[in-house]
């Protein structure tokens, strides 16, 4: 038996990582194994987010880990990707929390905020003392956020905000919401603090996916905002889309973690489980499935490593991220579904992590640009013809 099985590094990509990257991954993996995995099944069953992990993750330096300054760790993007991978190996909901906090809410302020906003919010968000959410999607505008109906109108020096957002991760537990709205000049972003009069939230129940993550609706009813609440550099749809690029980058890595957990589980299970007096893993049909999983995960690892290098070098385009998000999440979802099948009846119970990952990955496939939306983005890139705008 080869050693790589336990680590799933078939192409010895570890040799291409820096010692700091490996150290980062080892530390996060150890943290996740000790402090997250043992409790995650219960949070999924009860539909609760493990709030107690927030200070631990913050102390560890996870929030805004790839941002520079403002109390952030300033890691490179490969190390950041590895963190996302290890978090999602436990649960996509945990990775979602970290993605929203870091790549959406913190990044929006980091990229489009004033110096005053950055100094006020980012250090506390890095310390996990302020939780952020990111309100782009609306009930009637998902894949097409440019059609948003939330509006802000000028009122003296400030603004009056009206509208609603739906499917917002961390919505009701957030201390501040980065909210995207239309003004006369187009789309811009606002920081709306919890408790602002006219701002309320309601959680979405009945989810079969991402149960260990909070998903809410946000309501804005004549919410009065100071001039200082607007993100001054956020002009046009490209501002929220730049945030999505950051989050999608992390998702492409995260999907590898979820896929790895499912593959590992299917491998262990089919090696131990005997039917017709032989281990399931001894049948050609089962080996074919395992080998396909190994191949797809290895390809996804290569995509991410190269993407991370390009992101660090400043040569990564959003379309590069689309390819990685589209491929890797579909890959993880396929592996989760196949692993579910391979576990037979045990594949439907929460004694094994597989069905939870499978259900979570349905969300990961949809959010941050559904699979087909990335197809359209890439199609436009290679043909020069937009099929959706």
């Amino acid at each position: 038996m080869a050693d790589f099985i336990s680590d799933l590094d078939f192409y010895q990509l570890d040799e291409l990582l820096s010692p700091e990257d490996r150290m980062t991954r080892a530390a996060v993996r150890q943290f996740v194994q000790r402090e997250v995995t043992p409790h995650v099944e219960k949070h999924f069953a009860d539909s609760t987010f493990p709030l107690e992990l927030i200070p631990r993750l913050a102390e560890f330096g996870v929030f805004g880990a790839n941002l520079k300054g403002y109390g952030c760790a300033g890691m490179n993007n490969v190390a950041y990707g590895l963190i996302m991978q290890e978090l999602e190996a436990a649960d996509s909901g945990l990775r979602s929390f970290a993605s929203v906090q870091s790549a959406l809410a913190m990044y929006a302020i980091y990229a489009w905020g004033s110096e005053e906003q950055k100094n006020r919010y980012l250090p506390l968000m890095a310390q996990g003392k302020l939780i952020g959410c990111f309100g782009l999607t609306e009930p009637d505008h998902g894949s097409d956020p440019g059609g948003m109906e939330t509006r802000a109108r000028k009122d003296g020096h400030g603004w009056i905000l009206n509208g609603m957002k739906r499917w917002i991760t961390n919505g009701s537990i957030a201390d501040l919401a980065v909210v995207w709205a239309k003004i006369d000049q187009g789309i811009t972003g606002f920081i709306v603090e919890k408790g602002a009069p006219g701002f309320s939230t309601r959680d979405i129940h009945g989810k079969f996916s991402m149960r260990a993550s909070i998903t809410s609706e946000l309501f804005f009813d004549d919410v009065r905002l100071d001039a200082g609440a607007q993100l001054p550099a956020a002009r046009g749809l490209k501002a929220p889309l730049a945030c999505l690029t950051q989050a999608r980058y992390g998702i492409a890595w995260g999907a590898i973690g979820a896929a790895r957990t499912c593959y590992q589980c299917a491998l262990d299970y089919t090696r131990a489980r005997k039917q017709f007096s032989r281990p399931l893993a001894g049948y050609q049909l089962v080996q074919n499935k395992l080998v396909n999983m190994l191949t797809e995960i290895t390809k996804a690892q290569l995509i991410c490593l190269r993407l991370g290098q390009m992101k660090d070098a400043g040569t990564m385009r959003p379309e590069h991220v689309s390819l990685a998000k589209r491929n890797n999440v579909q890959m993880a979802l396929d592996i989760a579904r196949t692993a579910r099948d391979m576990l037979g009846a045990n594949g439907i119970v929460n004694e094994y992590p597989v069905i939870r990952h499978m259900l979570n990955l349905e969300t990961v496939n949809t959010y941050e640009g559904a699979y087909d939306v990335h197809t359209l983005i890439l199609g436009r890139d290679i043909t020069g013809i937009g099929a959706f705008d």
């Binding site: 038996m1 080869a2 050693d3 790589f4 099985i5 336990s6 680590d7 590094d9 010895q12 570890d14 010692p19 700091e20 490996r22 150290m23 980062t24 080892a26 530390a27 150890q30 943290f31 102390e59 560890f60 330096g61 996870v62 880990a65 760790a73 300033g74 890691m75 190390a79 963190i83």
Partner: protein, 249 residues
């Protein structure tokens, strides 16, 4: 107070170890390497002492090859102040390693050496004791609790059938047992800071100590594969089999 913590690089306990066909060692391709878990406990204890005292220096030392830098960096990322790699191009036996560390210790003059009671790869359980002898310092092995008061140190030791409390003056050598503490994780900011911390290399030959091997590994054998169990029909047969085949009764 200055605390010296020797650190060994060992295979990750989670990796499957394969013995080379000729029995000369283990296959190291695809093995992940980590700090010996007992040494990790030693680093943690040193950091706690420093934090409690509000000042001091935690210095790591390894006697090994260039690749060992990675484990030293991990220790620096946990919070140690600096590291020394005594570079040996070929693996040395425990006596030579102890001599090298003792030599560096006599230059560094730490008040304490805290070291894992054993390494999880060869389970020798020797270096701490050898250091105490070479330096002429008191030793407290298998520590499960360490307390400092002035020049004096009190250690609770895990011994067969109970606990033993010993007190001794410093400088001294302490070896750590599993229950001493739970080591912290290297945090991400810690990993970034570790990059800039000093990691000095010294060639082992330059220390002027006797490195001649006194120990030779003749062969390594993998543990025998567990045989599948067998069902017996009756208690009589069980007793019979235990007597004639297993020869345990």
């Amino acid at each position: 107070m200055k605390i010296l913590v020797p650190v060994k690089r060992v295979p990750d306990p989670a990796t499957t170890i394969r013995v080379l066909p000729d029995g000369s060692g283990i296959a190291t391709d695809n093995v992940k390497w980590v700090i010996n878990p007992f040494d990790e406990i030693a680093i943690e204890e040193a950091l706690r002492i420093k934090e409690k005292q509000g000042s001091g220096e935690v210095v790591l030392i390894s006697v090994g090859q260039t690749a060992w830098q990675e484990q030293l960096r991990t220790g620096l990322a946990m919070g140690a102040d600096r590291a020394i790699l005594v570079k040996a191009d070929t693996p040395l036996d425990t006596l030579a390693i102890a001599r090298a560390i003792a030599k560096v210790a006599s230059d560094e003059k730490p008040e304490l050496i805290i070291i894992g009671k054993q390494a999880i790869d060869d389970d020798s359980n020797q270096i701490g004791q050898m250091l105490a002898e070479m330096l002429g310092w008191p030793q407290a092995t298998f520590a499960s609790k360490v307390e400092l008061a002035g020049e004096k140190c009190t250690v609770v030791r895990e011994v067969d059938g109970g606990l033993e409390t010993v007190a001794f003056p410093m400088p001294a050598v302490i070896t750590t047992d599993l229950r001493l503490n739970e080591p912290r994780y290297a945090s991400l900011p810690g990993i970034m800071k570790a990059r800039k911390k000093p990691l000095n290399e010294i060639a082992v030959d330059s220390l002027g100590v006797d490195l001649a091997p006194k120990l030779k590994i003749k062969t390594l054998n993998a543990p025998e594969k567990r045989q599948a169990g067998r069902k017996v029909a009756s208690v009589e047969e069980l007793v019979q089999v235990l007597h004639t085949e297993a020869k345990v009764i």
